[in-house]
């Protein structure tokens, strides 16, 4: 039988839908009977969402402009070589 500790180990896979059917079913059965694990899964799901929302770091403006300049330089030298695309 699946114990709470076992469930904690595979909870992350369960949330992502990565478990094989039999394991998924035993997680569901356990969750029906165990409120502690229900709140664990709910809270873990929340933590995952938190991280997704949080991890989208914005790009530093100065750095982005530095990249623009480097790229423009590379584009210019490429078209001067004649090896680059025809700029019309």
């Amino acid at each position: 039988m699946l114990m709470c500790r076992d469930l904690a180990v595979i909870a992350s896979d369960y949330i992502e839908g990565d478990l094989p059917l039999t394991q998924r079913l035993s997680v569901r059965t356990h969750l029906m009977m165990c409120r502690h694990c229900r709140s664990f899964v709910a809270n873990l799901r929340n933590s995952i969402e938190l991280m997704k929302g949080h991890s989208d770091q914005r790009l530093d403006d100065r750095y982005a402009r530095r990249l623009d300049e480097e790229i423009e330089r590379a584009l210019a030298s490429q078209s001067k070589d004649g090896s680059g695309p025809d700029q019309g």
Binding site: C4, C37, S39, N43, L50, M51, S55
Partner: protein, 206 residues
């Protein structure tokens, strides 16, 4: 890949990049650089990562002509960064210094009795959504703090997966880690965040 709007967008962008359109590069830089930095950060510190990504963008200018669309543009860019980082940093290759033999964070593992049931069950109170939780700025700061305490390589793998590349096979490929290591790394990091949020809700402190 089924034709999606995102896919069409990307194809349009690729064509414009291949035509050498500077505006297309500015757009691509803003769309893809955060993910590229996450890849580079797996291998090195912040400022070297910026240098590596910069070199990659200038290489992209000549390499984009040979882009055939077999992988997505994003994945193609991530691979370029990974290769560049591996080449320039061969000497100072970082290692992921985490114990992957345990599936549970020690702090979480200690909350079970020896028969496998909870001895310190989780709080029942979290009915708030992630969004409403983040409206509390202090929690965001706390999350930052905890993320920054993760080992560098672990953190960038996490960021890469959660924010930029949802396919674990690609992440493993780009970073050269095994599927099982990536899995445990993700699970452990999530457990840490779970513990952090719980503590924060209980005490109001980070």
């Amino acid at each position: 890949m089924p034709p999606t709007r995102e896919h069409d967008d990307e194809q349009q962008l690729v064509l414009r990049l291949q035509a050498g359109e500077a505006a297309a590069y500015r757009e691509a830089v803003r769309r893809y650089t955060p993910g590229m930095l996450a890849v580079a950060r797996y291998y090195t510190d912040h400022s070297s990562a910026e240098d590596i990504v910069q070199e990659c963008w200038t290489r992209v200018v000549s390499a984009i002509a040979s882009f055939e669309g077999r992988a997505s543009l994003k994945t193609w860019l991530h691979r370029i960064v990974a290769n560049q980082a591996k080449n320039s940093l061969r000497r100072s290759q970082r290692e992921v210094q985490t114990d992957f033999s345990e599936a549970l964070e020690p702090q979480l593992a200690s909350r079970f009795r020896s028969d496998g049931r909870w001895s310190q069950p989780p709080q029942l109170s979290t009915r708030e959504t992630a969004e409403s939780l983040l409206e509390n700025g202090a929690l965001g700061d706390c999350l930052d703090k905890h993320l920054s305490q993760l080992p560098e390589a672990q953190r960038s793998a996490l960021m890469l997966y959660e924010a930029h590349q949802r396919q674990s096979a690609e992440v493993c490929n780009i970073l050269g880690v095994s599927t099982s290591n990536l899995r445990v790394m993700l699970h452990r990091a999530r457990q840490k965040i779970f513990l952090m949020v719980e503590h924060f809700q209980e005490t109001g402190q980070c």
